[in-house]
């Protein structure tokens, strides 16, 4: 068995490893073909998830996956839990937001404790940038980043790329506009890296206080005018605006935000006719997005993103545990 991708697919350089990483900490540091490999693998789980009969695969049977969420989450946690269970693993959720962390245990001690329970993969969400990387240094099993502070949220970027790929046929060459609170968004960071790697043109737009100028160093175009940013684009990715940022610190109010950056049908008409509308959820209807746009059956991919989320997470769990399972594919 080898690490190599045995395919003549020109997207993969010959002799390159399919996915040589122990952990999935972020998109930064990945190669484009590694991302494409995950997306390819996710396709088969999309099929399984759509099946009306049993949705269960036993490839991870007997493995224990711990979802350690140090920050509240509903959809990402649920998505990872379903992904693990569909692969046959035993999934345990640890809601650290209300546990020993409150009793003063350090993050490293918590990591060592989780490690001592011999998890086969740990999925972590944490409120501080870099926290997941810190834990990954202290444990023996693969660690998946489910969002750390304002750093990265790699599986979200992967599921977004998969959604675009399935709807548009390719990510390369698409013009993608990301709109909203880029400054505080790990989703935006991971998506910028991922989309740029896959060859998309990326525009970012939002209030000047929430779209740092330094982003231009990553090869994206920065706008503060929504209409200009949206003109002729293939994909619009709306970000959620956190309620606590709407009270005058960064922007004056939700309604002013809606006035400048709310996605409505009139603005939508500036984009390409077949523009794809995306949102990582949960949405603030009437603030960053109008209901009529969010629910547009033809253009909106918002529910499809959720669907792809499970498949992508199944692919990640499968790929990262292959080494331990001694399964063909990369060891």
């Amino acid at each position: 068995m080898t690490n190599d991708i045995s395919t003549n697919d020109s997207r993969f350089p010959s002799g390159a490893s399919a996915f040589p990483h122990t952990h999935l900490l972020g998109i930064a540091g990945l190669q484009s073909w590694e991302i494409l490999y995950i997306l390819d693998q996710a396709e088969k789980w999309v099929k399984l998830n759509k099946s009306k009969a049993s949705k269960r695969d036993e490839s991870l049977a007997g493995l224990t996956i711990i979802n350690a969420f140090f920050e509240n989450s509903t959809r990402t946690l649920l998505s990872f839990e379903i992904a693990g269970k569909r692969l046959g693993a035993d999934v345990v959720n640890m809601h650290a937001a209300q546990s020993s962390i409150k009793k003063g245990e350090t993050l490293i001690d918590t990591a060592v404790t989780l490690n001592a329970m011999h998890a086969d993969a740990i999925v972590i969400r944490h409120g501080s940038s870099g926290a997941v990387q810190l834990i990954s240094d202290k444990v023996d099993c693969p660690v998946l980043n489910a969002g750390d502070g304002t750093n990265e949220h790699p599986t979200q970027a992967l599921l977004d790329a998969l959604t675009i790929m399935r709807r548009k046929g390719n990510v390369e060459g698409q013009i993608v506009t990301i709109c909203g609170d880029i400054l505080h968004s790990r989703v935006a960071r991971s998506n910028i890296y991922c989309l740029k790697l896959l060859g998309a043109e990326v525009r970012v737009v939002g209030p000047p206080s929430l779209v740092p100028k330094t982003l231009e160093a990553f090869g994206v175009k920065r706008y503060t005018n929504f209409e200009q940013a949206i003109e002729g684009c293939d994909v619009i990715m709306m970000l959620r605006l956190q309620n606590e940022r709407m009270q005058g610190d960064f922007i004056p109010s939700g309604r002013e935000y809606n006035f400048l950056y709310g996605l409505n049908e009139q603005r939508l008409s500036l984009a390409k006719d077949d523009v794809l509308i995306m949102h990582p959820g949960p949405m603030n209807r009437g603030v960053e997005i109008e209901s009529s746009v969010a629910d547009d059956a033809k253009l909106s991919a918002i529910t499809e993103q959720v669907e792809m989320g499970v498949a992508v997470r199944m692919a990640c769990l499968d790929i990262l545990t292959r080494k331990a399972r001694n399964t063909e594919g990369w060891t």
């Binding site: 944490h126 501080s128 940038s129 750390d148 750093n151 790990r186 330094t214």
Partner: protein
């Protein structure tokens, strides 16, 4: 005691340096008395380093680094804001190491009520400091400065505009954006420097900016000096040799206050060493235990262990041709002594015999796991450096 067989900083040939009762008594030919002779075996002889602004009395680290005296910041637990704590701190290192405590400018460094500066001077304080934070109310700052001016004490300030930095942990830039760390523009420094500068001019006080780390901040200092204001400033090796890219990988040992700056600012700092704008290089020695550093970046305590590496890293400036080795000891010893107003910091008759003997080319590797001091939180871990202190004399006594 007579010290013989050494090299001098300025290259002049000197046969013997003699000291008696802790004071340098003769430079030149050996006098006839039969005191003990110390053979320096060709090492470089320099005044002991005076580390202007440390956060811990960490004697093993200071010994390793050739530091014979240090100005101790008032950010201690408890805070050095009354005469008793100052007196204790001043005596703590003696006899082989001298601590020159800096008095807290305000009670508990909270920036609201004036501390007993005159009583603390009486107890041994050699200067006043605002600590890690600055005083937000300009009215309070002006009063502190007027007090310092009247008592002829220098005021050490930290330069970050809190209104701009708030809870940020990094300088705005590509690295901070990429890592997703809360950040503030480097501009925060120049804003703080300028407002303190106007107040200091008004109060006619000697103001020492402990760390100036940006081009615009240094421009302001340069300008103030040309106008003849009583302004001095310092820097640490971290800001001379590292830029914000060192934070990559969330290395908490690079979490500093002020945070690491851009490469352009770093190069401006080197330039300011060359042209004399920067008066002092200090270690900012702040050893931190693992539980304060093995944390997510934004939760880690800022600070670095710097005493051990201060001399070796500073010698890079000599090797790179930025300054001469004689000039380096202006920055490490002579200027700090002048700012504190103490009878040391140079090799002159009548000064305290605080002397170090240096093997300036000796190679070694910085190892955070094997530091002499209290903790190994050095941002220079694993860096190969050159220059080791082989012998140290404090008040004419051989420490090692």
């Amino acid at each position: 005691m007579h010290i013989q067989n050494f090299k001098t900083l300025n290259g002049e040939a000197v046969d013997t340096i003699s000291c008696e009762n802790g004071i340098i008594t003769n430079i030149g030919q050996k006098s006839d008395n039969d005191a003990q002779i110390f053979d320096a075996k060709g090492l470089l002889l320099a005044p002991g380093i005076i580390d202007l602004g440390v956060f811990s009395t960490d004697k093993p680290a200071f010994r390793f680094g050739g530091i014979t005296r240090a100005a101790l910041m008032p950010d201690q637990n408890p805070c050095h804001d009354d005469p008793a704590t100052i007196r204790y701190a001043a005596l703590k290192g003696k006899p082989d190491f001298w601590v020159h405590p800096l008095a807290a400018a305000t009670k508990n460094l909270e920036g609201t009520h004036l501390a007993e500066i005159a009583l603390m001077k009486e107890a041994g304080a050699m200067g006043v400091a605002t600590g890690h934070d600055n005083i937000i109310a300009s009215e309070t700052m002006l009063r502190v400065m007027e007090y310092c001016a009247a008592l002829n004490l220098p005021l050490f300030v930290h330069s970050e505009d809190i209104g701009l930095t708030r809870d940020s942990v990094a300088t705005s830039g590509e690295t901070a954006t990429m890592l997703g760390l809360s950040n503030a523009p480097a501009l925060s420094e120049v804003m703080s420097i300028s407002s303190d500068m106007y107040l200091a001019e008004e109060a006619d006080v000697h103001i020492h900016y402990r760390q100036v780390t940006t081009k615009r901040g240094l421009d302001l200092i340069r300008d103030a000096k040309s106008r003849g204001l009583k302004v001095t400033c310092g820097i640490t090796p971290a800001h001379l040799f590292l830029s914000d890219t060192a934070m990559t990988g969330f290395r908490t040992f690079t979490r500093l206050s002020p945070p690491l700056r851009s490469e352009d600012d770093r190069l401006a700092c080197i330039e300011a060493i060359r042209d004399g704008t920067i008066d002092v290089i200090a270690s900012g020695h702040d050893p931190r235990a693992p539980e304060e550093k093995r944390l997510p970046f934004s939760e880690a305590t800022p600070g670095m262990a710097g005493a051990e590496t201060l001399l070796s890293l500073s010698l890079n400036l000599v090797r790179d041709g930025v300054i001469s080795i004689d000039r380096l000891f202006d920055l490490l010893s002579r200027n700090p002594a002048k700012i504190l107003g103490i009878n040391a910091g140079d090799i002159n008759v009548g000064l305290e015999a605080d002397i170090i003997l240096i093997d300036s080319d000796a190679p070694w590797q910085v190892d955070g796991n094997a530091m002499q001091g209290k903790a190994g939180n050095t941002p220079f871990d694993r860096l190969p450096v050159q220059g080791r202190v082989r012998h140290m004399m404090k008040g004419g006594k051989i420490i090692y």
